[in-house]
């Protein structure tokens, strides 16, 4: 990366238009490491998240091998886990839970929260609203470095002697509070909690910065209703983060106190490992309320940026305005609001009062309305378009598909009566991996392909992009689609070995094992497919063809900045905005796109 950026740096100097924002020669450290430039910080987030994503993907392959071929020795497992955790190449029960836990944690928080929101909010907010940088470059830098330290601690926890956290990514106490209950609840869990605390700090600093920047630093003419939907999505995401992450912090803090100081927030009447604890009066359910008060908005913290990115990509590559711009904003706001009053749907079978359950059924199913609006608006945007299938566009189309496929099963899970059957089964695993995992990852890939020229000044290889897309969508659907049927058969999630079904219902057990083998094979294919992306990504940073200023012929402001990165984004004055960002194929215009900085022609009406 540094070589390419050095080239960019050199050619930038030759342009010689840095006089008005005090550009000076920067040292390597202030430019690449402790950078306060939002574009560099965005790239730092991206690279860190890509690395974390690879780790999490590898962990999933390790446990998928166990699930498909339980009890069979695997060189792959013994290679990565050694004799401690995979004696003779057979995964240990405890480590299976550890792998599942860390896979979930990294994917949800480090890849899809830090990686998605961190990368694209940082890169795009100033560029698309016409700001020189974030409101506070220093806070922004701190946000990245807290994220970095938090990632390191999470990775370190994989290597401690007693194993990483093993209580599932939701770390429900008492399991997560009692080292006697599972070995990972010792040092591994402590590291998990420390890591997540730092993550919350990072997320808060980032989110506050995004909110302030969007509210205060919009350029002249950039009213809220002229902002690209990406910015609306990042803005609402940041608000969700500010309101919900502190609640996770409080949940984590109380858990730490229960673990270290003998308090009883979550513990009551417990005998574990033959030891009668004196804790009385706490409630493990309290933790679940606190956790899901973050946990549910978190789903939308992951999903909204992906939807925002895909709105932009779909509109640009259909050469049509996004259909129902205001309805799209309305649905983002509605989803954001509703996401705070639905957390109880994760807890229908905790023994919660059934009436409260009914309320959560109602609020949860309401979310289907703005979601449906979004889907139909995407479809209408495609309708009668002039579609250009760039890899980014294909991932955006894939996102709409996964958003539908995963979304409709949400209707089953949100219905408390039906949830009784499928709660905590593979049906849930299928649902959230498709609607949240696949959608957000597709949004992220789409974003990387689309804004790669903006990040690195070069183009990614198209053909490799196509190969990557097709392997990924076939592989990922191949993994998660069959899981619905495993779940409908009643298979609980987080089981180490489904052959236990043979003891009471062997035909069902065999069906599960068959599907598990299919799922694992698709998982391996999908994982291998990601190497195409990695190759393309790193190769193109150095060797990709030079990008032109506006490769996708898009309207939004980031494409009016020079290809080479400039401190302050625009040489000279900030651009003035005269129209919304979706004037594609406007009748009467000479080209099929009109940049936001072009004034309205005489007699031209704004959309």
């Amino acid at each position: 990366m540094s070589a390419a950026a050095h080239v960019a740096h050199g050619s930038h100097d030759s342009h010689g238009h840095h006089e008005d924002h005090g550009h000076h020669e920067e040292s390597f450290i202030s430019k690449y490491i402790f950078s306060q430039d939002h574009k560099m910080i965005g790239k730092q987030f991206l690279l860190t998240a890509v690395f974390m994503g690879i780790v999490a993907m590898l962990l999933s392959i390790l446990f998928r091998i166990q699930l498909a071929w339980p009890g069979e020795s695997s060189d792959f497992l013994s290679f990565f886990l050694g004799e401690t955790w995979a004696p003779g190449g057979i995964l240990k029960e405890d480590m299976y839970l550890g792998l599942v836990t860390i896979h979930g944690t990294i994917m949800v928080f480090f890849l899809l929260t830090g990686g998605l929101s961190g990368t694209f909010s940082n890169l795009l907010i100033p560029l698309q609203i016409g700001a020189r940088d974030m409101a506070s470059g220093f806070l922004n830098m701190l946000s990245y470095w807290f994220f970095f330290i938090s990632s390191i601690i999470m990775l370190v926890s994989l290597f401690v002697e007693s194993g990483p956290a093993m209580a599932g990514w939701t770390i429900y106490p008492p399991l997560s509070a009692l080292p006697q209950a599972v070995s990972g609840s010792g040092l591994g869990m402590t590291l998990w909690l420390v890591s997540m605390t730092l993550f919350v700090v990072s997320s808060l600093m980032g989110s506050l910065n995004y909110i302030v920047t969007v509210l205060n630093l919009r350029t002249k003419g950039m009213s809220m209703t002229r902002m690209p939907l990406t910015i609306w999505a990042f803005f609402v995401t940041a608000i969700l983060g500010v309101l919900s992450f502190p609640v996770l912090f409080s949940a984590v803090l109380l858990l730490m106190m229960d673990r270290l100081m003998g308090t009883s927030f979550y513990l009551s009447d417990i005998i574990v490992g033959g030891e009668m604890l004196a804790n009385h009066g706490g409630s493990p359910i309290l933790y679940q309320h606190l956790f899901w008060f973050l946990g549910h908005p978190e789903v939308y913290i992951v999903l909204l940026p992906a939807l925002g990115l895909s709105s932009e990509i779909i509109s640009t590559n259909s050469r049509k305005p996004i259909f129902g711009y205001r309805a799209m904003i309305g649905s983002i706001l509605a989803i954001g609001f509703l996401s705070f009053i639905v957390w109880g749907h994760h807890m229908f079978v905790t023994g919660m009062n059934p009436f409260i359950g009914s309320v959560f059924v109602f609020t949860t199913l309401l979310i289907a309305i703005p979601s449906a609006v979004k889907v139909f608006n995407y479809l209408t945007t495609l309708w009668k378009g002039s579609i250009v299938l760039t890899p980014a566009m294909m991932f955006a189309v894939g996102l709409v598909s996964t958003f539908i496929t995963g979304g409709v099963t949400g209707i089953i899970l949100a219905d408390s009566a039906l949830d009784i059957n499928v709660h905590d089964t593979y049906f849930v695993v299928a649902h959230f991996h498709i609607v949240m995992g696949m959608s957000a990852v597709f949004g992220m890939f789409g974003g990387v392909y689309h804004w790669f020229p903006k990040m690195f000044g070069r183009m990614m290889n198209l053909r490799l992009g196509y190969v990557h897309f097709w392997i990924t969508i076939v592989g990922a659907y191949g993994v998660f689609f069959p899981m619905h049927f495993v779940g409908l058969a009643g298979a609980p999630r987080r089981y180490y070995d489904y052959s236990v079904y043979g003891e009471f219902d062997s035909p069902t057990g065999e069906m599960m094992m068959d599907l598990n083998v299919i799922i694992t094979i698709f998982a391996i294919i999908a994982a291998l497919g990601q190497f195409v992306f990695l190759f393309n990504f790193f190769y193109s940073i150095y060797r990709g063809p030079k990008a032109v200023q506006n490769p996708w012929k898009a309207n939004s402001l980031e494409w009016t900045t020079p290809v080479e990165h400039v401190h302050g984004n625009w040489p000279g004055e900030l651009p003035t905005v005269h129209r919304w960002p979706y004037d594609y194929s406007k009748p009467g215009a000479s080209e099929d796109y009109i940049s936001q900085i072009v004034p309205l022609a005489e007699g031209e009406e704004e959309h």
Binding site: V388, F481, P482, V500
Partner: protein, 413 residues
């Protein structure tokens, strides 16, 4: 088998890699010709692939649905389970229709409206009527889903009838124990502090309080033993061990105070509720067509009682009693005929991550016709109540109960 698959995977990987390199070479050739834009050829090819993918996706779905759709579940074996299944089917019909409709529109539009030279896109920023349509229609459909769902939910979670049979399911790492409420159909109370070797479920009676106090004070690692060890100047203790013992002692001193308070407040009349309870391990026997109210308890961490065939599930939470009621109405024998599998058994699984052996935590359930059940139950009531187990018959050569109970057993007489 495993190795074969591994080989296949590796071969596939190598083929994929070779293809990639080829694709890469082709693309670099193209790049040299100076074309970074998506060519119409690529565009059309990918549009067609989108359509092909849709076909693959839908056929895959139909195949999976017909092959695996309901095999694992079978018919519901409880009264409410069939209501839930028909509700699930209705919901499935709705969502499958939506799934097919929107996914086909998506892929067909992507294929059909691919860029064609000379055909501009249609500028169509909004249409309030259309947007209203797809706000109102989903809302109406959801209203139906919500109303039907909540109706069923209320029926399922309504409190159990007075005459329904009470059973407690006690969960711990990594097994289940059932407790039948016995002749009086009332479960005896419990308190976790009363847990001793012969009172694993911590049932509350005058005797169990006494023996818990005895064990806490005079047991092997009871308060007296700990104090003696700590005060004995002849024993050298590792500092960490000593620290641990002090903490342990402190905890036990707090617990013993609570036990004495319990003893002082205890009302002997409630003892009878516990004495006739029947504790049952390994297999849970249920009677056909009887409503059961299950009370769930957890000893250590959260577990979840998942009865896949009865369409029932409830978490078990330390410090909290949760409940779920259902009426099994297909006996194990009948279900074996329906499933054409004479080894089939109903099961109670743990469905909340609870530690390493989580996946092994289960209990077989057998549903018997009323006659057989009553015979079984009569036998249990005659020989295996909590009282009979707690005070083993004197004629036995050696009392199987733990030594700590001897004093209290005598005291009870």
């Amino acid at each position: 088998m495993g190795k074969l698959i591994a080989i296949i995977v590796i071969v596939l990987g190598v083929v994929a890699l070779a293809q990639l390199i080829r694709v890469y070479e082709l693309s670099s050739k193209l790049r040299n010709s100076g074309e970074d834009e998506v060519s119409n050829r690529d565009n059309r090819l990918n549009g067609r692939l989108m359509l092909a993918f849709m076909a693959f996706f839908f056929l895959g779905f139909i195949y999976l649905m017909s092959e695996y759709g309901w095999t694992g579940r079978g018919v519901a074996a409880s009264v409410h389970g069939r209501d839930l299944d028909s509700l699930l089917n209705l919901n499935f019909i709705i969502i499958i229709l939506v799934f097919f409709l929107t996914n086909s529109l998506l892929f067909i539009f992507t294929y059909k409206y691919i860029r064609k030279p000379g055909v501009p896109a249609f500028y169509y920023p909004h249409n309030n009527k259309l947007e209203m349509l797809w706000t109102v229609v989903p809302a109406a459909v959801l209203a139906v889903i919500i109303i039907l769902g909540l109706k069923t939910w209320n029926n399922v979670t309504d409190s159990a009838k007075k005459e329904s049979i009470r059973i407690e399911l006690f969960s711990k790492q990594f097994d289940w124990t059932a407790r039948y409420s016995g002749e009086d159909n009332t479960l005896g109370s419990f308190d976790y502090k009363l847990t001793t070797a012969n009172n694993e479920l911590a049932l509350l009676t005058s005797n169990t309080i006494d023996s818990a106090i005895f064990e806490m004070e005079d047991g092997l690692s009871g308060i007296k033993a700990l104090e003696a060890k700590l005060n004995d100047s002849k024993i050298m203790l590792v500092p960490e061990e000593k620290e641990k013992m002090i903490v342990d002692l402190d905890r036990k001193e707090r617990l013993i105070r609570l036990l004495y308070q319990m003893k002082a407040r205890h009302n002997k009349k409630v003892d009878a509720f516990a004495w006739d309870d029947i504790i049952q391990k390994d297999t849970l026997y249920l009677c056909e067509n009887k409503e059961y109210e299950f009370n769930f308890r957890a000893k250590d961490v959260i577990h979840s009682a998942h009865f896949p065939h009865f369409r029932a599930q409830m978490n078990t939470v330390p410090g909290l009693t949760t409940r779920f009621k259902f009426t099994p109405d297909i006996t194990t024998k009948e279900m074996r005929e329906i499933k054409q599998n004479d080894k089939f058994n109903y099961v109670l699984l743990c469905n909340k991550i609870c530690g390493g052996a989580h996946y092994k935590m289960k209990m077989i359930i057998v549903v018997l016709p009323e006659g057989e059940y009553n015979t079984w139950m009569k036998g249990k009531m005659a020989t295996s109540t909590f009282k009979q187990k707690y005070f083993p018959v004197v004629s036995a050569p050696v009392a199987p109960a733990a030594t700590t109970t001897d004093s209290t057993a005598v005291a009870a007489k």
